[in-house]
């Protein structure tokens, strides 16, 4: 790594050749048979991360700058620590992502121009919120309207059904997890 002479809004700029690896979560959609899996940002309205294609950041607020911009919040977000993702809304998949291009490093994470997942794993979001990533292994994947797929443990499937969230179809989590990794051509995430 070497220091570069350019400065972005007073921030020091460095140049390197190795992508940064960081943590990220997504929601998941797919067809009722578990095919057509697609990772989607937890922020509604953001672009899906398509299999075998580089995810590229764009700014929804301003067309006059390239993402990420130092004066904006745009860019592909990822965190330095895994536990930081427990604050995210409705995560269905956890992963390690490679970040490159222009990357703005923050106190707790990064905003990048380009990214692609390197390792993926389904999680029960309720166990993840209440306990940890290690304790969030799902048993099933519930299929809901709008092709939303929600991995859950058996306990939280019961809680969801008791509260009126009855899935239209239930798929085995192991098969969906394997299909997801095959679709994106990545390895399993061990946490």
């Amino acid at each position: 790594m070497k220091a570069a002479s350019s400065v972005v809004r007073g921030l020091p700029t460095e140049v390197q050749v190795e992508p940064i690896l960081a943590w990220r979560s997504w929601t998941l959609t797919g067809r009722r048979d578990g095919e057509g899996l697609l990772l989607r940002p937890v922020t509604a309205g953001s672009k899906a991360w398509r299999p075998r294609e580089v995810a590229q950041a764009s700014c929804r607020l301003a067309w006059s700058h390239e993402a990420p911009n130092a004066d904006c919040s745009c860019g592909l977000h990822a965190t330095r620590e895994l536990d930081f993702l427990r604050r995210t809304r409705c995560p269905a998949v956890l992963g390690r992502v490679a970040l490159w291009g222009r990357v703005i490093e923050h106190e707790h994470g990064y905003r990048a121009r380009f990214a692609y997942p390197q390792r993926l794993r389904l999680i029960c979001q309720f166990c993840f919120w209440q306990e940890s990533a290690a304790a969030s292994k799902p048993d099933v994947v519930s299929w809901y309207a709008r092709d939303l797929l929600v991995p859950m443990c058996v306990h939280h499937l019961g809680v969801a059904e008791a509260n009126g969230m009855r899935p239209r179809r239930i798929l085995p989590a192991g098969i969906v997890d394997l299909r997801l990794r095959e679709t994106y051509a990545v390895d399993a995430l061990a946490v």
């Binding site: 972005v8 390197q16 490679a98 222009r102 703005i104 106190e107 707790h108 905003r111 692609y116 051509a185």
Partner: protein, 49 residues
């Protein structure tokens, strides 16, 4: 999600992209099965009115 204040900018130009190759389009290794010709329609019986 608030990831805190920006600290620095890193310009990363990797030697190789960490993205898998596009999925290969597999061609069939054997000749496709012959499509059977449609059977001729049976001649309609005409019943005198």
């Amino acid at each position: 999600m608030d990831i805190g204040l920006p600290k620095r900018v890193i310009e990363i130009e990797p030697a190789s992209l960490p993205v898998p190759e596009p999925a290969p389009i597999l061609e069939p290794s054997v000749d496709p099965l012959p499509v059977p010709e449609p059977a001729p329609e049976p001649a309609r019986e005409t019943t005198p009115r």
